[in-house]
């Protein structure tokens, strides 16, 4: 195999994957882990280690431990055998490589032409969702690999896939929903609906095991009424989406679809899957991540179509293809740069670390809810709110108070909320002042902090201020 074309391709793919996935961490200035997920798992893994898996004392100043159990357990297990940094920065790259191989195997099993398969892998590696999933340990890292493995084994008619369908709900009910829908499409395609019923039964059983205790204990989770509008902003990476897809990938996919459409209903199941994905994304925008796998295949078909089709002008054909390739690279470059700038910044880390040393007790810290998990893990303090909304206590009321406290200039009203939630510290960041919360220097809480006598600035750096509330 040595020095053959396929060998070179494999080496190229591995090298490309490693380089692309390492880049966000390499160019990251702050030296902290990327995003909130690593910090969440670090803390939750410690909670599991302490056998306190009934109650989380820090999130929302205390809440039921109702997180999906699989990711924290895996992280906790890995933490026993591997250094933390390796789990967060290296293991995802390895899982990314395995996932890529599984995707290759799936396409191969589905009789996808080798060149299309190879291009699909390259486009997938360059896609922002893939970079997001596998450049740092996060919610999607392990489950993506498991979903791919499940489908590979399902295609191979291996019974282990049933076991995996059982495991998937432990990562979150939404993944179970996704895999069930995909399994249904596949079963209909293969005319094996009986197989689907088994999968459905297994998944339902597993869902009951995972969610029945929470449901019987806490009832249904209060759904957030406030982040609906935010969700749809994240669909396209070029427009600022955290793990959205590239617009140029969509264009290439359109070329791919137009090629597939030539054989009309032969590829009916691809269109159905695409439509189902689009519908699902309306409810779970984060599924855009999984759509990128399908789109990378379609984009590869599109690219091959452009390469092979006879154009009237050869120059235009080449130029168009290069523009689209450049577009893909441009999106990846932008995304790598953006992800490398994700919180926590070095300044935020320093401020939270200061707070950890300043006060050893776990007092309540108020800040923008996107900093909640950092407050828990780095400062070892209770947060007012964070991004884990499922089963958060009095979520909407709390959010209402959160908004009131941020925007009121009424000192008495602010004080009543501060007392109600026993807030001891307030963290203000430059981002909060520059659009994340406020737009002017003396808006809402900023005015109260600067004019009230009960507030004392105990720490500040270029990006972050820490205020203590005198009682």
């Amino acid at each position: 195999m040595m020095f053959t074309k396929s060998y070179a391709r494999v080496i190229f793919l591995i090298a490309l994957t490693i380089v692309i996935l390492l880049l966000p961490n390499l160019i990251r200035i702050s030296g902290t882990y990327i995003g909130e997920d690593p910090y969440f798992y670090i803390r939750v893994a410690d909670t599991i280690k302490d056998d306190n898996i009934e109650y989380d004392e820090l999130s929302y100043s205390g809440r039921p431990f109702a997180y999906s159990p699989a990711q924290p357990l895996i992280f906790s297990y890995l933490k026993k055998v591997l250094p933390e940094q390796m789990i967060i920065n290296i293991i995802p790259i390895i899982l990314g490589l395995i996932s890529l191989y599984l995707f290759y195997l799936i396409l191969k099993e589905l009789k996808v032409e080798p060149n299309v398969n190879y291009l699909s892998l390259i486009i997938l590696i360059l896609s922002p969702p893939f970079i997001y999933i596998f450049s740092s340990y996060n919610t999607f890292t392990v489950i993506t690999l498991i979903i791919l493995l499940t489908f590979y084994l399902l295609i191979k008619k291996n019974m282990v896939s049933y076991l995996l369908f059982f495991i998937i709900p432990f990562f979150g009910y939404q993944y179970s929903l996704l895999t069930l829908i995909l399994a249904l499409v596949y079963s209909i395609k293969e005319k094996n609906t009986k197989g689907f019923y088994i999968i459905l039964l297994i998944s339902l059983l597993s869902l009951l095991i995972v969610y029945l205790p929470s449901l019987s204990k806490y009832g249904l989770s209060e759904s957030s009424k406030f982040d609906k509008a935010l969700k749809y902003k994240s669909l396209f990476s070029d427009l600022g989406g955290e793990a959205g897809i590239s617009i140029f990938m969509i264009f290439l996919s359109l070329f791919g679809l137009s090629y597939l459409w030539k054989s009309k209903y032969k590829h009916f199941f691809i269109y159905v899957t695409l439509i189902l994905f689009i519908i699902l994304i309306f409810y779970y925008p984060s599924f855009i991540i999984y759509l990128s796998f399908l789109l990378s295949f379609l984009a590869a078909v599109g690219m091959i179509y452009i390469i092979r089709s006879k154009w009237e002008s050869e120059t235009i054909r080449k130029l168009t293809m290069w523009i689209l390739i450049l577009g893909l690279i441009f999106s990846s470059y932008n995304f790598v740069r953006e992800i490398s700038l994700q919180e926590p910044s070095h300044e935020l880390y320093l401020a939270l670390n200061f707070l950890r040393g300043y006060d050893s007790s776990q007092n309540v810290v108020f800040s923008h809810y996107s900093y909640g998990i950092f407050i828990n893990t780095i400062a070892n303090k209770k947060n007012f709110m964070d991004t884990k909304f499922l089963y958060a206590p009095n979520l909407n009321k709390r959010y209402q108070d959160y908004m009131t406290l941020l925007y009121t200039r009424n000192a008495d009203l602010a004080e009543s909320i501060i007392n109600k939630y026993e807030i001891k510290y307030i963290i203000i960041t430059k981002k909060m002042k520059q659009g994340l919360v406020w737009n002017q220097e003396d808006e809402g809480l900023l005015f109260i902090l600067n004019t009230g006598k009960s507030y004392n600035k105990i720490y500040y750096n270029d990006e972050v201020e820490v205020w203590r509330i005198r009682k």
């Binding site: 070029d238 427009l239 617009i247 264009f251 235009i316 441009f330």
Partner: protein
């Protein structure tokens, strides 16, 4: 001796050029606030030999996300005396040639094409937006039209090359390149609905141009897109101003500015070209009209600029009507008058296009008094001062006085635009000293500018909160903030 069409065309060009230069040189400065923004960028390039990324004066300091190829080109011509008066007039006059060429493609008739070119020379809205102004639109319009011309004749090598080059250049001038992209989309839709065949070659080149313009725009505006997402296409214009943009012109004024002739002849041309003859060029230009209307309807395009583009597209389509009228006249009892038709049309153009254009050009703003005051401010105030001026004078202030403003018309990369807009308005109209100081202190305003223009704009006779304790009138129209 029969004179060549090129002679008449040269005559029209000279006529429009002289017309533009006459008005340009009759005023010492420029006739739009936006011109002064461009002037600053050109001066900056001349001085630093590089484009401006950060503007320390506008919005008291903000990033500049504006394609600056136009300004580089203008800076190159800086060796010509009065280049900022002459070059824009020359570019604007070139519109006549492009319109003539497209009209010739459509009609294959010299008389109709020349009459269309004459009509294009005096479009009131175009005159309003270009005479004595440094405006990127004067260059963008001919480029977009050449792109259409190239697309119509894309099978010829020279037009093919031109199309490729201009597709690359267009987005480097202005985000209005999106108008071209949308017109191509509408072209596809219209051709499909009219069951017209678009050659594979043309489809390919359209696809190429679409992606090229898109990627260049993404490269230029990547930070804006990442920051504001899709909403960036609305350019961050404050809401109250947005509605003002769209309410400022009434239907009659719009007709007056577009010119009655282009509207009538253009509509007829669409009827003939689209529904009767299914002419490919007319379909392309109708698609451009639809794209303009679409962008206007979603409020991406400023109404004035939208009308400007509509009128130009209608003028070009008018060529087909002129030809048809001429042909029709030949088969009627009035055929003996057919030789008079050009003269009748010339007369109509003079009455309905040239005369309105003349009055529009005569009424273009003159900022002489403001410029004098701003020059005085430059010489008599500390360099780091912030001056309160209304939105419409923001760029003139930064360019002439070289002092900071609170806001100007470059909304795209600026924070709190709406709030700044409201605060400036409050500082001028409030009678409450507390409210006024809330706004003035927020932006650390050192001087307030209030002249007749400002008084007229805000319908005030003076600043109601002014007193001797906190304000000092250091010059007629300028107050120093003491408290």
């Amino acid at each position: 001796m029969k004179l060549k069409p090129s002679f008449y065309l040269t005559l029209i060009i000279l006529f429009t050029l002289l017309f533009r230069l006459y008005f340009a040189f009759s005023i010492s400065g420029f006739s739009s606030d936006e011109s002064y923004f461009h002037l600053r960028l050109i001066n900056y390039i001349q001085e630093h030999k590089f484009i401006m990324f950060y503007d320390p004066l506008g919005y008291q300091g903000h990033e500049v996300y504006y394609p600056q190829l136009f300004h580089i080109l203008m800076a190159i011509f800086s060796f010509i005396p009065f280049f900022l008066k002459i070059i824009p007039a020359l570019i604007a006059s070139s519109l006549v040639i492009v319109v003539y060429l497209i009209a010739k493609k459509i009609t294959k008739d010299n008389t109709s094409s020349l009459l269309t070119a004459f009509l294009a020379a005096f479009i009131p809205i175009e005159i309003k937006n270009s005479v004595n102004q440094i405006s990127v639109y004067t260059l963008i319009i001919p480029i977009i039209l050449i792109l259409y011309l190239s697309l119509i004749s894309i099978e010829q090598k020279k037009y093919f090359n031109l199309f490729i080059i201009l597709s690359f250049i267009l987005p480097l001038f202005h985000p209005l390149s999106f108008l071209f992209i949308f017109s191509l989309i509408f072209y596809f839709i219209l051709s499909n609905t009219e069951s017209l065949f678009i050659s594979k070659y043309r489809k390919e080149i359209i696809a190429f141009s679409f992606f090229l313009i898109l990627i260049i725009n993404f490269l230029i505006y990547k930070n804006i897109f990442l920051q504001y997402g899709l909403s960036s296409i609305w350019q961050n214009i404050p809401d109250p101003l947005f509605s003002q943009y769209f309410n400022n012109i009434n239907i009659l004024e719009a007709i007056y500015l577009m010119g009655a002739l282009p509207i009538i002849l253009g509509s007829l041309g669409i009827f003939f070209g689209l529904f009767k003859e299914k002419d490919d060029s007319i379909i392309l230009l109708t698609a451009a009209i639809l794209a303009t209307l679409f962008l206007l309807s979603i409020k991406v395009l400023n109404l004035q600029i939208g009308i400007l583009f509509l009128s130009i597209f209608l003028v070009i389509i008018s060529s087909l009507s002129i030809l048809k009228i001429n042909e029709y006249l030949k088969i009627t009892k009035f055929s003996r008058f057919k030789n008079y038709l050009p003269f009748i049309l010339i007369l109509l153009i003079i009455v309905l296009a040239f005369i309105p254009s003349y009055f529009v050009a005569k009424s273009i703003p003159n900022y002489k008094s403001q410029i004098e005051t701003f020059q005085w401010i430059k010489e008599n105030t500390p360099e780091n001062s912030t001056i309160l001026v209304p939105l419409e004078l923001g760029n003139i202030l930064t360019s002439v006085a070289e002092r900071k403003n609170i806001l100007d018309t470059n909304f795209l990369s600026s924070r709190n635009v709406e709030e700044r807009y409201e605060d400036v308005n409050t500082a001028y109209v409030t009678f409450s000293k507390i409210k006024a100081f809330e706004s003035l202190r927020k932006y650390e305003v050192n001087y307030i500018f209030i002249d007749d223009y400002v008084k007229n704009k805000y319908k005030i006779t003076k600043l109601l909160y002014i007193d001797d304790k906190c304000f000092e009138e250091i010059k007629n129209d300028v107050y120093k903030v003491l408290c």
